[in-house]
């Protein structure tokens, strides 16, 4: 998979030099999920498992439509159903297609210690190169959306690839192709933002005053965006209101790294030069005393 787009890697985990990125003409891409058009049919889930050739284990029903009940290493997208009352006595049934948001500033990539296990392409797709994965689970700590899942079978992390293999040869992601209501669209980020805003405007006219585009700035924007009926309260659908890469992760993988490295090297250098300057600590023999 990675070989198809190996000339347009703009970021690579645990790598301090530039990655191959001579091919920069790829436009920024995005997937837009319009929840107001979603009927919860789960065709996208089926298309995802079909194209990626994944078969999750048959689980058990937890009393609601969610099936499976959460993302798994083999279910990269899952429809989540929410019965909420945004206004008292006004029941609404919200359906959200959960999966990787493909952040422009991906926390998983920042946290990952394995060189090349997570890459970001110039078109914005964040991809796990699973053969480089070491199974440490740092991506789970880095992700603000709780998306990566690590397989019990092979200890590798998995998530939605935004069908990087299809997109690399000019096709749309499998979920987009299959959606029967056109709730999922795919195109340049610019087009998707303007289409999303247009849809939000239409929803506002129909009485959803707080409809809007979910493209959170805290992670640099995302390459999977939602049109939400209640964009002022994304937490109604288990979406964080202002997601950012946790400050703990930024500290750990940011300033702490060079500082600690410098501290350890300084300790060794201090010892060496101290010995050269002061000499050993021992009983002075008579001749040495000056």
């Amino acid at each position: 998979m990675s070989s198809l787009q190996s000339l347009d890697v703009t970021a690579r985990s645990a790598t301090t030099t530039p990655s191959p990125q001579v091919r920069t003409n790829a436009p920024q891409l995005a997937k837009l999920i319009d929840e107001s058009k979603c009927i919860g049919c789960k065709a996208c889930q089926v298309a995802c498992m079909n194209w990626n050739d994944l078969r999750d284990e048959v689980g058990s029903n937890i009393g609601v439509y969610d099936n499976p009940s959460d993302l798994t290493p083999t279910s990269w997208t899952v429809m989540k159903f929410f019965e909420v009352e945004p206004k008292d006595g006004n029941l609404e049934w919200l359906i959200r297609k959960d999966g990787c948001m493909h952040c422009d500033d991906p926390g998983c990539l920042k946290a990952c210690p394995a060189p090349g296990a997570i890459v970001k392409y110039s078109n914005g797709i964040v991809d796990f190169i699973s053969e480089n994965c070491i199974g440490c689970g740092y991506c789970v700590k880095g992700c603000p959306f709780d998306v990566p899942r690590i397989s019990q079978k092979d200890n590798k992390a998995y998530k939605c690839t935004l069908c990087s293999d299809r997109v690399g040869v000019g096709l749309e992601p499998a979920c987009v192709k299959t959606c029967p209501t056109g709730a999922i669209s795919f195109g340049t980020k610019e087009d998707m933002v303007s289409y999303g805003n247009k849809r939000a405007g239409e929803l506002k006219e129909r009485g959803f005053q707080n409809a809007g585009l979910y493209n959170p700035a805290g992670v640099g924007g995302t390459h999977v965006m939602y049109v939400l009926k209640h964009a002022d309260r994304p937490e109604l659908e288990d979406l964080p209101k202002d997601p950012t890469v946790s400050p703990l992760v930024s500290l750990w993988k940011g300033v702490a790294k060079p500082l600690a490295l410098a501290g350890m090297l300084a300790a060794v250098a201090a010892g060496f030069f101290h010995y050269m300057k002061v000499g050993p600590h021992e009983e002075k023999s008579e001749e040495e005393k000056v």
């Binding site: 645990a14 790598t15 301090t16 210690p113 394995a114 060189p115 480089n132 070491i134 199974g135 440490c136 689970g137 740092y138 789970v140 700590k141 709780d146 690590i150 019990q152 200890n155 946790s246 703990l248 992760v249 500290l251 750990w252 702490a256 790294k257 600690a260 490295l261 501290g263 350890m264 300790a267 060794v268 010892g271 101290h274 010995y275 002061v278 000499g279 050993p280 600590h281 021992e282 009983e283």
Partner: protein, 206 residues
């Protein structure tokens, strides 16, 4: 040359188990800390193997350290005179040979090192257990994992810097290393560096 026994066979073997596992846990951990040190993972058979081995090595280190702490904690309790020793340590390091308060089996610097190691080891174990995949981490809230991973790194770096200091002090103070390799030290060494301990060891003997 008359010598005095400083460490028993058991104390020395425990120390070296801690030392060896410290180096292994340190190198495997540093591989994940900074990309410039990822190459340490090749010593352990690659990334996945390094990830698998690191927690087990850490556990051995921790349990050996507990044994060591049980041997030595009493001798590391701070005593009157230790504050003065610390105040004069700077001159000692500068090679000025100040008149130091008489140190017991361990001097105030060694005692501080001991307690820093105790704290670091405790933090490393507590956070390391939480982070252990695939057995424990999947059942720990992600917020807690983020705190754990940061504390684990801070404690590890503090431990490494402290041990660099510890190793240097052993090299700097001539005659110290044989205490841990052979278990005995010359009387002159004991008289100079640990006079109170020397008197205690030689009382009633001639």
């Amino acid at each position: 040359m008359k010598v005095i026994r400083r460490y028993s066979d058991g104390e020395r073997m425990t120390h070296w188990v801690v030392a060896i596992t410290f180096v292994l846990a340190g190198l495997s951990g540093l591989a994940f800390f900074h990309p410039s040190m990822f190459f340490f993972s090749y010593l352990f058979g690659g990334g996945p193997w390094t990830k698998i081995l690191h927690p087990f090595i850490g556990l051995v280190m921790f349990f050996a350290f507990i044994l060591m702490a049980v041997h030595h904690w009493r001798d590391n309790l701070m005593q009157p005179g230790d504050a003065e020793w610390r105040a004069k340590a700077r001159d000692l390091l500068m090679g000025k040979h100040p008149q130091m308060p008489e140190a017991g089996k361990f001097n105030a610097g060694q005692k501080m090192l001991f307690w820093v190691l105790v704290i670091c080891m405790a933090v490393l174990l507590a956070t390391g257990v939480l982070l252990w995949r695939p057995w424990i981490a999947p059942f720990v809230p992600i917020v807690l994992l983020r705190v754990a991973v940061l504390l684990h790194a801070v404690a590890a770096v503090l431990l490494i810097v402290s041990v660099i200091g510890h190793i240097y002090m052993a090299i700097w103070t001539k005659g110290s290393i044989r205490a841990m390799t052979r278990g005995t030290v010359p009387e002159g060494w004991a008289k100079m560096h640990h006079p109170a301990w020397y008197r205690q060891m030689t009382q009633g003997k001639s």
